[in-house]
């Protein structure tokens, strides 16, 4: 007992785990017990087995063990077999072979098959303790290494999950994203970009920036990458195919303050541009529509004031009547604009009272008769519901019918026919205005009630209008709990129908 204690002071002074559990499997009782005593004196917990089978039973029932000391030649199960069984159960176990010189070759082979080392018999306590100490150190290192590896793998997994989340977000974004590094290689491209820049959709990442077809994209990215000191963010609208994108390019600044790349973001602003263009077109249309009658008015007044006409009262009167007509048109248009704006902002007040539909229809048709006759267009009324009345604002109703009749006349060919029909559909009084004019294409038909929308083609180019009339009709009708409808066939004509709740 005293000897091992002394040995412990020298050989295993820095033993990493003096209480480690050790299994000794040897069919020689002397070796078994000798080892047990030496090791137990050092504070190790030692179990023993007389052969391989017994060793395996100990492993199964009493494990785990830090070290397995085995003799190679044992009855029932060889040491190598036991080592293998032990390693299968616990890869961290440190198997040590105790062997006589005669079987040194086998021991070497044993280490090849997974034994950590071998201790040739006979050995001194110090030799045994040193081998155990080295084995335990190696075991601790390998456990620590595995712990670190597992931790690293776990972190990598977390990073990968994080990256995959980011990638998923970037991939799902509707804005296109490109990342370009300082070597001007495209290193990231999301799905939207593949759609926005189809020419580089299938190029394997990374690919050179100058392989992107759009010169605008190349230029803007280059400016940002080449700007001295970085910190330059460029935004520009660029047309790509049928679309317009707002391209924002910002530099990626590394911790040293250098530009290490750039991020390009493409936002689709096509619809905004269209809306913007529609509004500009509307302003331009209104300006033009206002200018024509104003120019005519000014022209007539110039003529009257020039004194050229030698004060022929009849001629002067005729001219002033023409002026009045143009000014009235102008006022009508301004009213239309005001009404629409009022409806849009919710400031349109209806003065509703029972109104005889036939009366308003008759007045409206009469107001458009002159214009219709100019083009030999007949406007007929067919009243299938005598005495139909609705609870309505008479002026609004008049505006609705007037717009529909005016359109029917405007979009008719010379000599055409317009039929205004008062009818009934269940609880509703209907007024339909049907013409056999130029008709409306299916694409335009879907949009005729949109504000500012006007069908644009060769036939409509010369027809004046603000694109407000039908949207006004729709909004005014809806203010009366009514509905609008349209059917049309290009070249054959159109029929607009408005329905109002009936009160009689």
């Amino acid at each position: 007992m005293s000897e091992p204690a002394a040995a412990s002071a020298q050989g295993a002074g820095a033993a990493p785990a003096p209480h480690a559990r050790i299994l000794v499997a040897d069919d020689e009782l002397g070796v078994r017990e000798g080892c047990r005593k030496i090791l137990a004196a050092e504070g190790y917990e030692v179990l023993t087995a007389g052969d391989g089978k017994a060793g395996l039973e100990q492993l199964v029932e009493r494990g785990p063990f830090a070290v397995l000391l085995v003799d190679l030649q044992m009855p029932r199960m060889s040491g190598l077999e036991l080592i293998q069984e032990a390693r299968n159960r616990d890869p961290d176990i440190v198997p040590l072979i105790i062997t006589a010189h005669a079987t040194l070759d086998t021991a070497v082979e044993g280490t090849r098959q997974g034994a950590y080392s071998y201790i040739p018999k006979p050995f001194t306590p110090d030799e045994l303790l040193l081998a155990i100490k080295n084995g335990l150190e190696r075991r601790a290192l390998s456990i620590e290494a595995r712990r670190l590896r597992e931790e690293r793998e776990k972190r990598l997994l977390e990073v990968a999950a994080e990256r995959s989340r980011s990638n998923t977000i970037i991939a799902a974004m509707t804005d296109g994203i490109l990342v370009i590094n300082s070597e001007k290689l495209v290193v990231l491209r999301n799905n939207a970009t593949a759609r926005i820049l189809p020419d580089c959709a299938h190029r394997p990442i990374p690919f050179p920036l100058d392989e992107i077809e759009s010169a605008d994209v190349q230029e803007i990215v280059n400016v940002v990458l080449d700007s001295p000191g970085g910190f330059m963010i460029l935004s520009r609208q660029i047309p790509l195919g049928a679309f317009t994108y707002m391209l924002n390019v910002s530099p990626i600044i590394d911790p040293g303050g250098e530009t290490s790349g750039a991020v390009a973001v493409f936002s689709d602003v096509t619809e905004l541009k269209k809306l913007d263009a529609a509004k500009s077109m509307f302003v331009s249309l209104v300006a033009h529509e206002v200018k024509s009658p104003l120019a005519a008015t000014e022209g007539w007044l110039n003529l009257v004031l020039s004194g050229m006409l030698k004060a022929d009262p009849a001629e002067e009167r005729h001219m002033l009547e023409r002026v009045l007509l143009r000014v009235r048109t102008l006022r009508g248009m301004v009213n239309e604009l005001i009404s629409l704006t009022a409806i849009q902002t919710g400031n349109f007040s209806l003065k509703r009272a029972p109104v005889a539909v036939a009366d308003v229809v008759a007045e409206t048709v009469e107001a458009h008769r002159e214009k219709a006759e100019e083009h030999r267009i007949s406007v007929k009324i067919s009243d299938c519901v005598t005495g139909a009345r609705v609870l309505a604002d008479k002026d609004a109703l008049s505006m609705i019918f007037s717009n529909l009749v005016e359109n029917a006349v405007k979009y008719s060919r010379d000599g055409g026919d317009v039929l205004v029909r008062i009818g009934r559909e269940g609880m509703y009084v209907t007024v339909s205005v049907k013409d056999n004019g130029i008709g409306i294409s299916p694409e335009d038909l879907a949009k005729v009630f949109d504000e500012f929308y006007r069908a644009r083609n060769e036939q409509t180019a010369s027809i004046p209008g603000t694109g407000l009339g039908l949207s006004l009709v729709k909004r005014l009708t809806e203010l009366h709990e009514g509905t609008v409808g349209v059917s049309s066939e290009p070249g054959k004509g159109s029929e607009f129908i408005v329905r109002f709740p009936s009160i009689a």
Partner: protein, 135 residues
């Protein structure tokens, strides 16, 4: 007074046709008015002697956006009418964001016109230009 030179007026705005007819009549000219450039071209083909116009005054925007330009170009490219001076009057000088107003003699030549007026024209200025072109 009614033996003066013939002037053709093309405009789809009835008011301008009427008021310029009044001005030109006052100036001693005879006029024929057309609401479409096609009609004016047809009449030109048949006009002879004193009925042949000495001057054409046309609007720029008629049935289609470039009707006035097309009319002017057609007239200039036809050797029978190439010598007839032309005045363009327009209320749509800057429609659709295009500014058609000619600023130099080259602009005018490109429009195939001898003079350009933004509507409305004062009777005096209009008559003075007509007189100048017919001298």
């Amino acid at each position: 007074m009614f033996n003066g030179p013939m002037i053709y007026r093309v405009d789809d705005d009835k008011d301008f046709l009427e008021m310029q007819k009044a001005i030109l009549t006052h100036g001693g000219y005879r006029t024929r008015c057309f609401s479409e450039s096609r009609e004016a071209l047809d009449a030109l083909g048949e006009a002879a002697g004193p009925e042949r116009p000495a001057l054409v005054v046309t609007d720029l925007m008629m049935k289609s956006l470039d009707a006035g330009f097309t009319f002017a170009r057609t007239l200039r490219s036809d050797p029978r009418f190439a010598d007839i001076p032309m005045i363009i009057v327009s209320a749509a000088a800057s429609r659709k964001g295009f500014d058609f107003r000619p600023r130099t003699a080259e602009d005018l030549a490109a429009m195939h016109a001898e003079a350009f007026f933004d509507k409305p024209v004062t009777p005096a200025a209009f008559l003075a230009k007509v007189k100048e072109l017919l001298e």
